[in-house]
Symmetry: C2
Subunit: 277 residues, 2 copies
């Protein structure tokens, strides 16, 4: 296929952005376009410049016989602020309040394009942390976990609270639910997570932190390192009670007043770790 530079750039942009965090051999493009390596390198230089100017991400090239190129999604502080604001507005709708002071989140986690945007924010925070797998708890954490894992190019392991025959051999731990103080069980299929993985834990809502304590115990059974915990929302009032303190939240929810059906939403701590500018 004889392509001009502009046409090659369309192809290369689509090819790399479809494969975030995957190393693509330079020979893929050299062979496809029957172009000299130097021409392809010049294509990649243009791509790199636009991606950096536009805060789309980094293009990392490695040289030598085994040369390759990797697209690493990465957004800037300004874009992160916009994403948090959009999410804040979604979650602030007053008709979300359910009996018991719970928030209705099913439509938010069902919003695939919002999950993709939030994933850009999360992967920027963990960009250089060498994550091997994303771990989440069924069911509301799964969409966000998958959106993040797609961009990190790693698998997702789903922890369940019920044991199913279709999970094969499992490892289970008991934990104390933070809100009800009941003993509960969580299980993970043995072969969904490699021993010794570096994991990022994703969940929808962080209340007293009982589930997260359970996840951390379970991760010990897999000799996994918990590199971080990210939640869509945390309830501010309970933050003092939590044992695990190192987490990232997109928003904080507080002053939940069931009687008047009001609550307050503010940005979580996720923006603190962004390089401003």
């Amino acid at each position: 296929m004889k392509y001009k530079r502009s046409e090659r750039l369309v192809f290369i942009t689509e090819y790399l952005t479809r494969r975030p965090n995957a190393r693509v051999p330079l020979s893929t493009f050299v062979d496809k376009f029957t172009q000299a390596k130097s021409s392809i390198s010049e294509d990649l230089r243009i791509l790199k410049e636009v991606f950096e100017n536009e805060n789309i991400g980094k293009i990392v090239t490695t040289h030598g016989a085994n040369g390759g190129v990797t697209f690493i999604p990465k957004i800037d502080y300004h874009t992160a602020v916009e994403i948090v604001k959009e999410f804040e507005e979604e979650i602030s709708q007053s008709n979300r309040l359910l009996p018991g002071g719970y928030l209705y989140l099913s439509d938010i986690v069902g919003n695939a394009s919002l999950m993709t945007k939030l994933a850009d924010l999360v992967v920027t925070l963990y960009e250089d942390k060498h994550i091997d797998a994303v771990v989440t708890i069924a069911t509301k954490g799964i969409p966000m976990a998958h959106a993040v894992a797609t961009k990190l190019n790693v698998p997702v392991a789903v922890i369940r609270k019920d044991n199913k025959i279709t999970e094969g051999s499992t490892v289970s731990v008991n934990y104390v639910s933070g809100s009800t103080r009941k003993i509960e069980t969580m299980i993970l299929a043995k072969r969904t997570l490699k021993q010794g993985s570096r994991v990022l834990v994703i969940d929808d809502f962080l209340r007293a932190g009982g589930s997260i304590n359970g996840v951390i115990s379970l991760m010990e059974e897999f000799e996994a390192t918990v590199v971080g915990v990210t939640v869509l929302a945390e309830s501010k009032d309970n933050s003092g009670k939590r044992r695990y303190k190192e987490y990232t939240s997109i928003v904080k929810v507080s002053e939940i007043d069931e009687f008047n059906e009001t609550f307050t939403v503010e940005p979580g701590n996720c923006l603190d770790n962004f390089k401003k500018g």
Copy 2:
């Protein structure tokens, strides 16, 4: 920002492929690049040509004062065959067989990049079917449902088999499980799915079809039109017993022999509906 054509094309390619099935106003690019509409139209013509040549998808432009451009992912028969083959190889590993003749699929549905590839195949099949929402059953259907919904730019509604307070008001139906013949219940939060939606149902494994019958009854309660049902795998032996016949499967699994730990995998019917060529 003063960009050359090749640089503009990098930006436009990333912008559109990040927003599949969303109509982007032409003014987005006209304003950003301070270029005449005719230059941007020429950029889009180049993009369109490369996307068609390379079987990436369609670029649809509408003209007039309200002109816009939409990227519609669409793969060809040859790519679909490759994706089915990759999936077939994954699922064929003999150590997937669990007691009771069940297949272990958690690692497959946890493979985010595989789910994205399969989604390209599924959205090509339903490209012009005006889907309003993807409906799935917790928990193994969720990753595929989200991968498809991301590309169709529609929300996901997740049906559960247990009622949770965090779902708010729900609609429930009882159905007969195809394999155990027990009466089971499935529920869907009222506000995750708009009345009268055109839905695509996604699930992981189709056995006797009891769950799908349940989903179809539940969709009647929402006055929804079930445009299609797509499953990752179907078990061939039970196909005669199913009431709902209009489904698409990626692979068919048959001759499950628990004693010898063997089973057969072949492509499902998903390739039948592809335009060959």
